[in-house]
């Protein structure tokens, strides 16, 4: 795919985030703790898949490619999702903490992106915001329920929070591309959302009697295509059909 303009690059990042997260959620199909949660996880996965498609279609239009080629025929090194999204499914507590920290972040980020100078991104954000609002209602509720549930659920929530914390710093990492776009009022400045995000999540962790680690490790790389080993395995499964039979359709 060679050199890419800033806007396509950003749309690809948002698309990859949504696609990889959607895939991790879809891995819960058939093994969620209750039937209602099974439906909820798949519903949320579908919202993210829809957002991924809008973003990748936008990139496709700009770069003379298409959503399927972008999703199924790029290697891990070309994927630009954040590391948080690609971490393995984990247990239900991990899935809920990851969802919760993302939902709180997205409520801020997409809330501002809806006022983007770019009409395509603004439209995608406006659509996503409605869905983020009810994702957030559910994930906030689960943080409280797991924290105040049994000793087992609280302990698992605490462990999950420590694991998730390894990769949250990257949510707020800016690079040259996003700095230029933020300067042109096309995207929000991620780094500026950190305090507001902390103010949103910390009281809810406290209420759930769990505590995040004092340090937030500055691990990053996803935007540059430098991933953890988990992404390769995810892609080998997600892409297997299209790699074996390119262009195969239902």
């Amino acid at each position: 795919m060679g050199e890419m303009d800033d806007l396509s690059c950003l749309a690809l990042r948002l698309g990859d985030d949504a696609l990889i997260h959607s895939h991790r959620l879809a891995e819960w199909c058939g093994c969620a703790p209750t039937l209602e949660e099974e439906l909820a996880l798949a519903n949320v996965a579908l919202d993210f898949l829809g957002r991924a498609r809008f973003c990748l279609q936008l990139v496709g239009r700009r770069l003379d490619s298409d959503e399927d080629r972008l999703a199924y025929h790029r290697d891990a090194r070309e994927y630009t999702n954040l590391l948080l999204m690609e971490q393995p499914r984990g247990d239900f507590a991990y899935a809920m903490v990851r969802q919760f920290v993302m939902d709180e972040f997205e409520a801020l980020y997409f809330g501002q992106l809806a006022a983007s100078q770019d009409p395509d991104l603004a439209a995608i954000a406006a659509k996503s915001n409605k869905e983020i609002a009810y994702h957030l209602r559910r994930s906030r509720d689960w943080i409280e329920r797991l924290g105040l549930g049994t000793t087992e659920s609280r302990d698992r929530l605490q462990v999950a929070l420590i694991d998730v914390w390894d990769h949250v710093a990257e949510l707020f990492a800016m690079d040259e591309v996003e700095t230029r776009l933020a300067g042109a009022s096309i995207v929000p400045d991620r780094s500026a959302l950190r305090d507001e995000w902390l103010a949103a999540v910390l009281p809810r962790f406290e209420a759930a009697t769990v505590e995040p680690p004092a340090q937030m490790p500055a691990i990053s790389g996803g935007r540059r295509g430098v991933h953890t080993e988990h992404l390769e395995r995810l892609l080998s499964q997600m892409q297997s059909l299209q790699r074996a039979y390119p262009g195969l359709a239902w």
Partner: protein, 188 residues
Amino acid sequence: MSVHPTDRGELIEVVPLARAQMEQRRANSDHGSIYALLDGVCDPELPILSIWDLGILQDVRVHREDAWTVQDDAQVSLEVVTVTITPTYSGCPAVEHIAREIKATLESAGVGQVVVETRLDPAWTTDWLSGAAQQKLRAYGVAPPEERACPICGSLRVSLISEFAATACKSLLRCDDCLEPFEQFKAL
């Protein structure tokens, strides 16, 4: 749509502005017959509702395009119908099915070339449901958005089981009187 009492005590129906604008666009359109054909295209998940009832159908435009026919080697003027739709939820799998249905319905009625266009902005909202949609949903056993009442026995004592039901657009509730579970169309 909702019913409100006026100062003088009479009941009036209040239609959200966006829905009123859609109705007006249809009423003023030169392509009423195409709209009428599209009334036959329904949501595969809620087959009682047409895409018009759901507010998925946004606009119908027609323009003429010159083209060459291979058979006669002559220039003809083709009618191209552009139908604009909007997805209810980002990941709604019904959108592609609906687009195919629109094409099939119009083409089998002999309406020239059909192009289906998807528009995201402004984002779909349940305010765009038609007045008829509310009635049809209730009769189908699905509570309309913002109507926390059992569609089976009418009881107002209901509880939420899950915000997420069998499709993205519905929540799962239970009636505390007749004990039947039922779905509600999510307000969005």
